[in-house]
Symmetry: C3
Subunit: 328 residues, 3 copies
């Protein structure tokens, strides 16, 4: 099944399989697939498998997040075609994993996961309306904003406990080159870059995500791989810390940018590929910048650079004659 | 007199009482009323009384702010129906109180109050134009932005002196549960939550503001009370510091959100009430987050979470079939 | 040749001189002219001379930045009339100077200059599209955002070395009045204020920039001078540090605001002049605020206050009957 995501983020899903009974689980799986811009429940299933392989806890969280955000949108009466395409699921998936990654898993945190997933659906609807005039996709902005809100609140709410994975607040200072990059950094860093799209640091998970992409769209698989590598190489060339490179820290945003610009929002052409490549490289700079900008708050940048770079490049593309928007 | 504020923030005030002579003072009082979204000069008068009861200084500031911002808009030639509805007054009221709350009262500060109130009217006109396509209300965004500008400038301008009420800049860190919540926290915190809408920490002021709301619209009064309580309960449940809860710190944004969503921007229905309730709860999280986000700058979050949550929920509501916008 | 910049930032350049061969260098010089909103290659030439007089390094950077950003936009197929008017050059000029001002000049930095200038053209196209509905000019926002991105990245990229001119990250604290303002502060500060538009701290450069403005438009020259003085006086009155005043730190944003509002975006009138004057004064407050807000990141505010104040005042002007937009 080909991707049906249109440049506007409005999806027309003709010929969706399954009757009324299977509609909800199918929407939930598509929600997981949409994290990598795939309106495809089989891709979603493989992504879920890739998460479970690394951590059953995150697998459960992903499922709960997709269910809670999709169900909230359904209860509020969101448009059926958006629901069916998983458009109200992917931000819930990421919010849920992020909350369990950065907050101590206890009953209150699980309650917050449900609340945050619900909030991400409200935010999704708000941004769909806000961006309608520009035909701009919402991407994972609701996830980033909702997660930041809950993480920041830990500084006021004594019962919301963060794990040690949340960065400590500090003032940014000049970096020095740390560690030595070897062949292992390159292949592990690239696969981890794909895996980090779902907060997983595990080359096997990255491989399963690529397999899921292959089901959705062959070019998307190559673009994700190339994007993750491009981000890694920029980070290496500019002197980023080796542990961050190996963990995939400079890969996930570039991978998402490459898939979005090279495979979804522009018609395939040499110019579009060059543009996607330039954007994937810039995303590594923007990620470095945003992660430094959030340092005084002790907050992770997550997919903020993917979102910003893709928005800007989609908008800019309309002013450039060499690029054509993908057919609706 | 029923509320005439339309979802777009454009107000049609048919049958406004008073001739040309009384038009200006009436506009000023409506400006005070609009802080709580009431286009009603009697409500404005009671709000002003509620401020004077707690502090004549703030009462004078509120009056000066309303006059200066309304007069600026008049001199520049703003639309008469907006002026008459107090739309160029409410941000001036809040800016003036905020500047005298956080800056040492001296002649330079009073000069800044007039300048800031004038600037808030320019900002109001700018945001009305910016948001026109979305039919989105401006709310108290001009107040928050203008006040932040003047408070931040104290770090560069040696003659602009802050009081000790302005938070000290610091890096956010994990909170612990502080103090014990008792019945006094609950009733005092709820009334203070309403009072804090005008920066007053005094249950009597809160009571007078509720009385003013009662004049404007009975449901608005109940919604403000319920919203302030909801914010307080969320803060309590999540482990916010007891002194902050008692002072009404988690109440004022939730109270405003409840009034805006439950009473002004959506047609009354069970779904709208549930939506307003959810939003009032989320506003407590967003307030905690924004207040932590502003900690490295030593800045107060003021009504920023009311503004953001209301904007997002108004936008999102259009995508949800269960909610209907209030009739224009 | 009169200014052709329309309020929308879309420029119609009828009767542009020079054949196809001269088109590119002419576009590049207009790009330098557009930093001060002049669609005029002679003005651009004088601005370039003013930079070379102070520093050949920055002169080369300005030229490279204009060439790289204009060429990128050309390769991507940007609209010819925008290219010819220098609209894809001025942000590249400023980004290039800024990068060499705040980063150690080495081969990697020069590579970053080209990449950043290219990125500024993508950002320009994106913002042109984003602001089209509002007919809002993009101004130097792409410069500010691109430069901040590269400066912030120094905290993650060990091979990107900053000079000692980049502020150290710190927490903002209350200022005290520093130094004594004398006549020298006033005239030097005013000329430096104009010179700082291109990051030059040299009264002679400021004088040459004013001469260039005189070629483009006589009122623009007076407005720049008056704006720089107004910003300086506000800073002095509010107690800003004398060295910052003398260096032109409170002048450049106010000068740009005065030129933009008094000479470009509104039809000339007494009300427009008063409005531009009020805005130039407010720009000094906004600059103080933004420079404090960026202190925890150790980032310079650059022309961010010019951009914000001009956007808001252009938008607000449409709601005020006393002001009329300049004829397209």
């Amino acid at each position: 099944m080909a991707m049906k995501l249109t440049p506007s983020g409005f999806v027309v899903t003709e010929g969706v399989r399954g009757g009324a009974l299977l509609a909800f689980p199918d929407s939930v799986l598509r929600g997981i697939g949409q994290v990598l811009l795939q309106d495809n429940s089989y891709a979603g299933l493989l992504f879920l498998l890739g998460i479970f392989v690394n951590s059953p806890l995150f697998g459960m969280a992903a499922l709960l997040g997709a269910v809670a955000s999709t169900a909230t949108a359904m209860l509020l009466g969101a448009r059926r075609e958006l629901l069916r395409a998983g458009m109200f699921g992917f931000n819930g998936v990421l919010v849920a994993i992020a909350l369990l990654y950065f907050l101590t898993p206890n009953p209150l945190t699980w309650g917050c996961v449900v609340l945050a997933a619900a909030a991400s659906s409200v935010l999704m609807a708000a941004l769909l309306e806000l961006f309608r005039g520009w035909r701009l996709p919402v991407l994972t902005a609701p996830f980033v904003l909702t997660a930041l809100c809950f993480f920041l609140a830990t500084a006021r709410f004594g019962r919301l406990q963060s794990t040690q994975l949340l960065p400590t607040a500090g003032l940014p200072s000049a970096a020095t080159v740390e560690g030595v990059v070897d062949a292992g950094t390159l292949w592990e860093g690239t696969l981890n870059g794909v895996a980090q799209i779902f907060f997983q640091q595990n080359p096997l998970s990255g491989g399963l995500f690529l397999l899921g992409l292959l089901l959705g769209s062959r070019p998307a698989c190559l673009l994700a791989l190339g994007g993750a590598l491009a981000g890694l190489l920029v980070g290496w060339g500019m002197g980023a810390a080796e542990p961050a490179l190996r963990a995939g820290g400079y890969g996930f945003n570039s991978a998402l940018v490459a898939v979005a610009l090279g495979g979804v929002f522009f018609a395939r052409s040499g110019a579009a590929m060059a543009y996607a490549g330039l954007a994937a490289m810039l995303a590594a700079f923007v990620h470095a910048a945003l992660s430094a900008a959030l340092e005084p708050l002790g907050m992770p940048a997550m997919t903020s650079s993917f979102v910003l770079v893709t928005w800007l490049c989609v908008l800019a593309g309309r002013g450039f004659a060499r690029l054509r928007a993908a057919p609706g």
